[in-house]
Amino acid sequence: MSISLAAEHGKPLVDDRAQSPLAIRGMTVSYGQKPAVFSVDMTVRAGAMTAIIGPNGAGKSTLLKAALGILTPLAGTATVLGKPVATQRHRIAYVPQRASVDWDFPTRVIDVVLMGLYPQLGLLGRIRATHRAKAAECLARVGMEDFAQRQIGQLSGGQQQRVFLARALAQDAELYLLDEPFAGVDAATEKAIISVLKSLRDAGKTVVAVHHDLSTVAEYFDDVFIINTRRIAEGPVAEAFTPRILQEAYGGRLATAQMDAIGASAG
């Protein structure tokens, strides 16, 4: 895939929506009278790990939520393998920002993971031993098997994040979308999460994560999507994650020294 810079207008894009596990076209979302995301196109590469980066308030999470239909966009469409997202939900697993959850809810960790199986269970399908085993296995993959019986609000931030990743694993999806999975988590959790995500990628799944730590982009991800209200750039880390593009996205908010470090790590 070649790098496409928004500044280089004028060449028609090939419509490669049918192949992409997540393709967004013309997405505009607005809170009140100011668009948070304006006319954004995004084409996620199958089988890759993509980071969505950009400064605070650049519309990273908003883009993801609008693509999933959690927010209603002012304009724009999102497709999974060429079909509308609404018909393809079984292919998608989403890990929300932890803030959106009712932590006081009466539910245990293992119940939360089981929720990942609800779509395949339907309204009344019985939860069988195989389902419980599957939930326990997903919990073990994120290293949380010892906490299965705890109430969800009693865990630390990092532990909660791992439980939500386990729920996403239980969904057996093809496309994993994560909203700031590393925000406010401890180093051990960050390591555990990234290794799970890499194993998903190695199994042929597609991973997209909103990410805010520029220093780990090159280490963790294959592709990068840079946004600041509009799409700034999109492509493999080696090509799109450059100081010049970051300067455009972050403006003066990025110190030169920081840029050099990124340039070196990405280079």
């Binding site: 004028g10 505009t28 100011k34 304009a75």
Partner: protein, 401 residues
């Protein structure tokens, strides 16, 4: 007759009640504003329902002591005591247990009210001749009110209003920015207590006029209505007080003049009339202007996106975009740009490129921060600056179609 009532020509008692109601309405409108701004409007519902057991206990005690069970000051003191107890319960449940405030409010209002009803049935079994009138506290009743009662109500309404006016500054500060208030040395806990005390006073004084079920309307409807007309806290306070006073005045006067027009419901409905009017027609926050604004905004977004797509030769996926472009005469049925459309598309793309350029140039950082996809670049840059940007970009490129 109605005019007579509005001009306070209907006799001493009716006049006292009308003035008392107006004063109470003002006090409620002002006091309710702080409750509303603190997002605790429905706490008043718990307070008002919690007055019932107090009224009943006061009646029972006074009757058993051999006095007149209907002594208004006694009944209102009982109401205030049990309302305060109810308020304490709400606060205790929502801070000391995992219960959210709304559940605490609902629990307290229903349980206290239930207990009050039990006590009402107890009173019915007591000396029957004396129990008359307590039901009046449910829905309010000003008909046949004793002169002394009317005086008490008008007087305490005036005192409540004076207190609200006196306390408006600390209350404004605490409801707008509690942390700043604390930093300036204000005791926010005590201010909150004062606010609740005022709400309690309004509720208790209003019991006889509006009744405990509808008294919350006096505290909630005026501030919500006032909020439509202004973005400034001090203005909300004034407008809300005026609306509250006006609703209560008109309501009480109408009720005095017309048969079968109970005071409480009329006051509430007059206030609701102001609310409906404001919801629909207020400039800025009103419904009509919001709908118009949203439609305009959506149109701008779609047109802009459509032009950019035309300029870059991209297909337009959205029917609405295409329809708007066609209506402007910028595109044809199949999404191909007209001459006019091509020219505008070129301009849109040129502007977009200018924006991209200034966003990656630290010298223009302040101007670039205005970027939201829609803003015309001429509004943030001078013609000279635009020329400079254009030099950086190079000559305009022709648009492909």
């Amino acid at each position: 007759m109605i005019l007579d009532a509005l001009l306070l020509q209907l006799g001493y008692n009716a006049t006292l009640v009308t003035i008392g109601a107006a004063l109470l309405g003002m006090a409620a409108g002002v006091g309710g504003t702080f409750l509303f701004l603190r997002k605790r409007a429905l706490v008043s519902d718990a307070i008002s329902h919690a007055t019932l057991p107090g009224v009943c206990v006061a009646f029972i005690v006074m009757a058993m002591l051999g006095g007149d069970g209907r002594n208004l000051i006694g009944l209102l003191s009982g109401a205030a005591a049990s309302a305060a107890l109810g308020l304490l319960c709400v606060n205790w449940l929502s801070t000391r247990t995992r219960l959210a405030e709304d559940a605490a409010i609902g629990a307290v209002l229903s349980v206290f009210f239930g207990l009050g009803v039990v006590l009402l049935t107890v009173i019915q079994t007591m000396n029957a001749g004396r129990q008359a009138g307590l039901e009046g506290f449910l829905l309010g009743s000003t008909a046949g009110m004793l002169r002394s009662d009317a005086l008490i109500i008008a007087g305490s309404a005036a005192i409540t209003l004076a207190l609200v006016v006196l306390l408006r500054r600390p209350l404004t500060l605490a409801s707008f920015d509690p942390e700043f208030a604390t930093a300036t040395g204000q005791n926010v806990g005590r201010t909150d207590l004062a606010m609740m005390g005022l709400v309690l006073a309004v509720t208790v004084v209003g019991l006889k006029i509006v009744g405990l079920i509808m008294i919350v309307a006096l505290l909630i409807i005026p501030p919500v209505t006032a909020r439509f007309w202004t973005e400034r806290t001090d203005h909300v306070v004034v407008i809300s007080g005026a609306l509250g006073g006006l609703s209560a005045y008109i309501g009480a006067a109408l009720s005095a003049a017309l048969p079968h027009f109970p005071t409480g419901p009329i006051i509430v409905l007059v206030g609701f009339g102001f609310f409906t009017l404001s919801l629909l027609a207020a400039p800025g926050r009103g419904l009509a202007s919001a709908v118009i604004r949203h439609r305009r905004f959506q149109r701008r977004v779609h047109l802009r996106q459509g032009l950019l797509a035309l300029a870059q030769g991209q297909p337009i996926y959205e029917p609405l975009t295409l329809r708007l472009l066609r209506r402007e005469g910028w595109a044809l049925l199949d999404g191909v740009a007209t001459d006019d459309g091509r020219a505008r598309a070129a301009k849109a793309l040129r502007d977009e490129t200018r924006w991209q350029t200034i966003r990656s140039d630290p010298d223009f950082e302040a101007a670039a921060a205005h970027y939201d996809g829609l803003r015309a670049i001429e509004t943030v840059l001078t013609p000279d600056q635009i020329e400079e940007v254009d030099r950086m970009i190079g000559a305009p490129r022709p648009v492909q179609t």
